[in-house]
């Protein structure tokens, strides 16, 4: 970095830099530190304006970038008039420039912002109001050095932001593809069935089979839509909509199991003295359907659904005899968008278990998983038992 000093204050005979040069370096070092404290380009531009004005006594500053590489235009502005509002600096829209009234002063300086390869990225401009003097050579040197320091930081942050945005876009694309795929399957089935029913050349047995499938796929579709609505509520930190009430868990288990009985051997078991649970039956069914859907995806054998009394709670286990889940994977199972290592090729968005756990917890319960790899998994829902008085006769 080339530093120049103003007037006759060059290096003295004793080789000690004059006071002004030391101040100059100190000012730049502190400005550099402040700019590099930020991680986002927008914040860096704002800080650049603030530091440029601080170093040169400018009454207004504008920093903008507009590189022709897809990052987009950004402009930050600082003006002495805004200082009253706690140094508030505004980010402005594309094409913002020094305002005409700001250009009426006696001084105007501009320094380019460049990429590492020397490509122009934008500029930082400063101006002084008419009642102040013009800028000095020192100001000019300071602005040039500051622009150089800021360029390095901004260019790096910009490249990082572009990579992050691309990653996010790809991630969104994958999630949307998953959601779309999950919904297309029931939609395709429903469309195909409706076409055949409209044609009306089916015998009674065929028609009955189609009606049952229609009902099943319609429920699947509704469950998917419900899952995405729940997910969206969770994402925006809103409460899930639940109505817990004394619920016959076994009846809910039977309804859930019925949806999979065409495809798989399922066995239901329950303690004879099983109390009712405090739960929202529709939401409990939603969770059970999700667990059963996973179990049928990842195992080929019989699936058991068992309800037990455990202390003052009702525990519902979904037990499969599939490949099982190893310890590392168990730890991540309920994370948003997590998909199992065995999930390649199968449908899914990685939302099911995440939403299921939130639903069970919103009913005052817990959802946990245990597994012995090679022997299958057990998912356990625990719900508070309804007290005696709450159980309908």
């Amino acid at each position: 970095m080339k530093l120049t000093s103003e007037g006759g204050d060059g290096l003295s005979a004793t080789n000690v830099p004059p006071r002004r040069d030391i101040d100059h370096i100190r000012a730049l070092t502190s400005a550099s530190a402040r700019i590099n404290e930020h991680l986002a380009v927008d914040e860096m531009l704002v800080e650049l304006c603030r530091q440029a004005a601080r170093l040169t006594g400018a009454s207004s500053a504008v920093a903008s970038i507009d590189a022709d590489d897809g990052y987009g235009e950004r402009t930050a502005r600082w003006s002495a008039e805004d200082r009253a509002e706690d140094d508030l600096l505004a980010l402005e829209g594309p094409g913002a420039d020094l305002r005409p009234e700001e250009m009426r002063g006696r001084g105007w300086l501009v320094a380019p912002l460049l990429t590492r390869e020397g490509r122009n990225l934008g500029a930082v401009q400063i101006a002084r109001s008419p009642d102040h003097g013009g800028f000095s050579h020192r100001d000019e040197a300071l602005l040039e050095s500051l622009a150089h320091i800021a360029s390095v930081a901004i260019d790096k942050a910009r490249v990082y932001e572009m990579a992050a945005a691309q990653e996010l876009a790809q991630f969104r694309e994958e999630i949307l593809a998953g959601i779309s795929h999950d919904m297309q399957t029931p939609l395709a089935t429903i469309t195909g069935i409706v076409d055949m029913l409209v044609e009306g050349t089916l015998d009674e047995e065929e028609e009955n089979a189609l009606h049952r499938t229609l009902q099943r796929q319609n429920r699947n579709l509704r469950a998917l839509v419900q899952q995405f609505l729940d997910f969206s509520r969770l994402e925006s930190s809103r409460q899930l909509l639940l109505r817990p009430r004394p619920t016959d868990v076994v009846a809910v288990m039977e309804q859930a199991v019925e949806l999979f009985a065409h495809d798989r051997e399922l066995v239901i078991g329950a303690d004879s003295d099983l109390p009712w649970a405090m739960a929202d039956p529709e939401r409990l069914q939603q969770v059970l359907v999700n667990l059963l859907s996973n179990a049928t995806k990842y195992s080929d054998d019989r699936i058991r659904v068992v309800a037990r009394r455990v202390g003052g709670e009702v525990a519902v286990d979904v037990i499969d005899q599939g490949r099982g889940i190893d310890e590392d994977e168990l730890a991540n199972l309920f994370r948003k968008f997590h998909r199992g290592t065995n999930s390649a090729g199968t449908d899914g968005t990685g939302l099911g278990l995440y939403v299921s756990r939130a639903l069970v917890e919103a009913q005052g319960g817990t959802l946990t998983a245990t597994s012995t790899p090679g022997w299958g998994c057990r998912f356990r829902i625990r719900l508070p038992a309804a007290s005696r008085g709450e159980r309908p006769s």
Partner: protein, 144 residues
């Protein structure tokens, strides 16, 4: 042509008749999708062989006599595209249709590059039309 007609392979209507029924492989891991599509295919007089995974699809095609293979893209085992690649390497020459719930431009481009037809699952009638275009394959050679 004066070549004697050999014994027809099992499951085929003997050559020389006006119409030979197509044998269609239908691979999808969703039993309800298989049921609905199978019914539609059978109503057009085609024979349907089902597979519920990529592995099963490979087994059925390797067994021979598949005139059209309909492969779901997302299945357990192999994806439809992977099954198609393996089959082509093994000189399986019958037409292959990728029947996918979600057709993004990437998948369509992948299918086009492999000379496969891609049809969205929500459009069963397009699937029927596409399969029908291969019906002539079963017609006996014309005498020349």
């Amino acid at each position: 042509m004066g070549v004697p007609v050999p014994d027809p392979p099992a499951g085929r209507v003997p050559g020389g008749e006006a119409f030979v029924s197509l044998r269609v492989l239908l691979a999808d891991d969703e039993p309800d999708v298989r049921m609905v599509v199978r019914m539609q295919l059978e109503r057009r007089g085609w024979d349907v062989e089902e597979a519920s995974s990529g592995y099963e699809a490979l087994e059925v095609c390797r067994g021979g006599d598949v005139d059209v293979a309909v492969l779901d893209q997302r299945m357990g085992g192999f994806t439809g595209m992977e099954v198609a690649d393996i089959l082509r390497r093994e000189s399986f020459e019958s037409p292959i249709i990728i029947f996918s719930a979600y057709l993004d431009p990437g998948l369509e481009a992948d299918a086009a590059r492999r000379d496969l037809t891609a049809i969205p699952k929500t459009d069963i009638s397009a699937l029927l039309t596409e399969i029908a275009t291969h019906e002539e394959v079963g017609e006996p050679p014309k005498a020349g």
